[in-house]
Amino acid sequence: MKLVRPILAIIFFWISFFAFSQEKTEREVKVKPSQVPISAKEWLTDAFEDLRKPKWYLEYSQKGKAFEAKFSKNGYLYSVEFDSLGNLEDVEIEIPSSEIPPETWTNIRNYFSEEFKEISVQKIQRQLIGSESDLEDFFDEDESGRITVQYEIVFQGKNEAWQVWEGLFDEKGSLISIIKVQLRPLDNLVF
């Protein structure tokens, strides 16, 4: 085949060309507990006393670096985020829709039916925001006084076409913000 060698040459040219032209964007890597600020580890053991080994991640984004601990407890998946110095930012807990207060869930569903023809919820996280001591009291003493609760919901919504969305709702179920989620290209799995 006369075609083969030119084709191979083109293929290897493109491979070598693009191998050196990668972009820099948001990423997250797994880190050892020894790389995590002590204050973050201490807060976690104070708030969740019987916690087994959490998984630690370091996230790089436009906002800078952040540490994130992920673990499961009593059947719930927790994700606790700290800034690069180990100061607590928020706690997210994955929950089923039945654990959202009925009034809040009704408001969220009203939003969905006003904005979309069809939706399918994929993931709900309850976000808890507050000072380190207030959040610690919330987890170890069940005091919920000064905590801000929000719901982050990932869902597929259809208008013209289906899309994946991530909506943030306040405690009452009013929309705070919504962004489109881009799926990582599937070309290597589909074709």
């Binding site: 083969v4 493109w14 693009f18 191998a19 820099k24 998946l77 899309q163 599937l186």
Partner: protein
């Protein structure tokens, strides 16, 4: 993860050993492929793919010496893909094969379904195709491929990170009254450069000729480049 890679390597070695001891046909070589995907809008995509297979070793080729570098086939194909919802799409494809005395054309129908867990992406691909080769009866096939993609650095595959991709595919064909089965196993290491490009290095192991005479195995060192724009 390491266990999976070890298992794949082990399977390949076992099969090579088996082939060395029998008289069925075995050949191996290199298999570069390039896939270009153009997003037309939120729903439609075009994919163009070129695959090239070069034989380096053939246990039953008396004409050429081993190791060799001989062209086996070059396939070009194009797909028009329509997303039904995120992670679910149907596609129609046209395919042409350049192969000595066996040039052929194929039309392809495809359904792809993605299952996403917190970490792993699992994709099911169902295909039917019809192949028209000169001087041969029409060949119709049904294929199912299961692919599993696992991030190797962190819980998500982020730009600059590596992933492991493995797939298994069974192909059932019917041609001129005869049935046949082909199996394919692929294990690859991938690098996700950005949303536009990735590169995969892998081993692609194929067996066919189970029912009709001529059991055959093929092992390819595969390099795949994917570009999205």
């Amino acid at each position: 993860m390491r266990k999976l890679i070890l298992l794949a390597v082990f399977l390949v070695f076992v099969s090579l050993k088996v082939q060395a001891q029998s008289n069925h046909r075995f050949f191996t070589g290199v298999f570069p492929e390039v896939s270009l995907t153009r997003k037309l809008n939120e729903v439609h995509r075009l994919n163009f793919k070129i695959e090239n297979q070069e034989i380096l070793y053939d246990n039953q080729d008396s004409d050429s010496e081993n190791p060799q570098f001989s062209h086996y086939r070059t396939d070009i194909m194009g797909f028009f893909d329509r997303s039904l919802r995120p992670g679910m799409s149907v596609a129609l494809g046209l395919f042409h094969r350049f192969q000595e005395n066996e040039d052929g054309n194929r039309i392809i129908q495809q359904l792809a379904l993605l299952q996403k867990s917190r970490v792993v992406r699992i994709n099911h691909r169902f295909r039917t195709d019809q192949t028209f080769t000169r001087n041969k009866p029409l060949e119709v096939r049904f294929r199912y491929r299961l692919s599993v993609e696992v991030p190797l650095q962190g819980a998500e595959v982020d730009p600059g990170e590596l992933y492991f991709l493995s797939s298994a595919e069974s192909i059932f064909s019917h041609q001129g009254g005869d049935f046949e089965i082909e199996n394919r196993l692929v294990a690859s290491l991938g690098k996700f450069f950005s949303k536009t490009e990735k590169l995969e290095w892998g081993l692609d192991y194929r067996t066919d000729g189970y029912i009709q005479e001529g059991f055959r195995t093929r092992l390819w060192a595969k390099v795949s480049y994917f570009y999205n724009f």
